[in-house]
């Protein structure tokens, strides 16, 4: 890939990240504001957003800090809430395993739900593009940390996301990105079935394990079933690479 193509990929990555980046600014801001209320300093909340970069577990830890929860309890909650990333990473492994390990070491730091959604969709459509992946990763990361910083300084100016329905932005993005994957009846069935199971699991537990459960179910169905739908995805990438 020449320099011009790399630049085009960078720009495309930024363009594709803008809608989610805007939401990150708002939700990062809310995190910064709430963190301040729990007694965290601006530096600590920004450090957390920069170094952990995992919204759901960051939000989950805040009330635990107020309640005086144990150190390892909070670390374990973070681990279990983020355990869904084991599966996300595994679904990307056929692509990243062919890359330089250092690139995988770097990108793993940025592998949030949203980064996963955007970059997986891109890989499926256009193949593996390091510049694009790096662009999306850095941009989203920056906006989450920036939002946290702004929220801890000017959080009182932020709109209530529930009042204006801003929390729907993530659902809309995930939905728009997933439609392209529903290329056969079996895929639609797995998608709907996993959605139903995720709802049931989500009602039973608020720890985020429903994502892991639904991912495992989808994996099991795909694994048990004979490869028959053309292997769009991991195998499709092989065709592109070949």
């Amino acid at each position: 890939m020449n320099e011009q193509q790399q630049m085009a990929s960078w720009k495309q990555g930024i363009r594709d990240s803008v809608p989610v980046g805007m939401s990150f600014l708002v939700f990062g801001g809310i995190f910064g504001m709430l963190a301040l209320q729990t007694g965290m300093s601006t530096a600590e909340s920004v450090w957390m957003s920069f170094f952990v970069h995992a919204g759901s577990s960051q939000f989950a830890v805040l009330p635990m800090l107020v309640e005086g929860a144990g150190f390892w309890t909070m670390v374990m909650v973070t681990f279990f809430m983020n355990s869904r990333h084991f599966l996300m990473a595994m679904s990307l492994a056929p692509y990243y395993s062919r890359q330089n390990k250092r690139f995988a070491d770097l990108i793993a730091f940025f592998l949030s739900d949203e980064q996963y959604a955007i970059t997986y969709n891109r890989i499926q459509q256009y193949g593996f593009d390091k510049s694009y992946i790096l662009s999306v990763s850095l941009f989203l990361h920056l906006f989450w940390a920036l939002g946290t910083w702004l929220g801890s300084l000017f959080g009182y100016l932020l709109p209530d996301p529930q009042r204006f329905g801003l929390e729907y932005s993530f659902t809309a993005m995930f939905l728009a990105l997933s439609v392209g994957m529903l290329s056969s009846p079996i895929r639609v069935a797995i998608f709907l079935g996993c959605g139903a199971v995720a709802c049931l699991l989500s009602m039973a537990s608020t720890s985020g394990l429903h994502v892991l459960g639904a991912g495992l179910l989808a994996f099991a169905v795909g694994f048990i079933r004979k490869p028959a739908d053309g292997g769009k995805g991991a195998q499709g990438e092989e065709r592109k690479a070949g």
């Binding site: 952990v52 681990f79 869904r84 730091f109 329905g165 939905l175 728009a176 639904a214 179910l217």
Partner: protein
């Protein structure tokens, strides 16, 4: 342990376990990927995406819920995606619809 150091170590530990969940399986030996395993891995995003979408539409506070606005916007998002296959359009139109209705009728919507 003083409070500042405890917080620093807590964030460090949270970051390390999070990184571990993301890095552990991101690269695997090529021989690991049998056709059957690839087929299973290929389906994982469907489950992950479904779990990120459906509970946000139908579960609130551990109970079933139905928000006609979000459901309607989601149907429009799917229809736009089927017709134009444009993520920006699907995302933008459905979110704009939600923001517009909420802005015009913030209490009832």
């Amino acid at each position: 342990m003083n409070g500042d150091l405890r917080m620093f170590l807590l964030i460090l530990a949270m970051g390390i376990v999070t990184y571990f969940t993301r890095r552990a399986f991101l690269t695997l030996p090529e021989s690991f990927f049998t056709a059957r395993l690839k087929n299973g891995l290929d389906m994982i995003p469907l489950g992950i995406f479904a779990a990120l979408i459906f509970p946000s539409l139908f579960v609130k506070g551990g109970e079933w819920t139905f928000n006609p606005l979000y459901a309607g916007a989601s149907v429009i998002c799917v229809l736009v995606m089927i017709r134009w296959k444009n993520v920006f359009l699907g995302f933008g139109i459905s979110l704009f619809l939600v923001l517009l209705v909420k802005f015009l009728a913030p209490v009832s919507a």
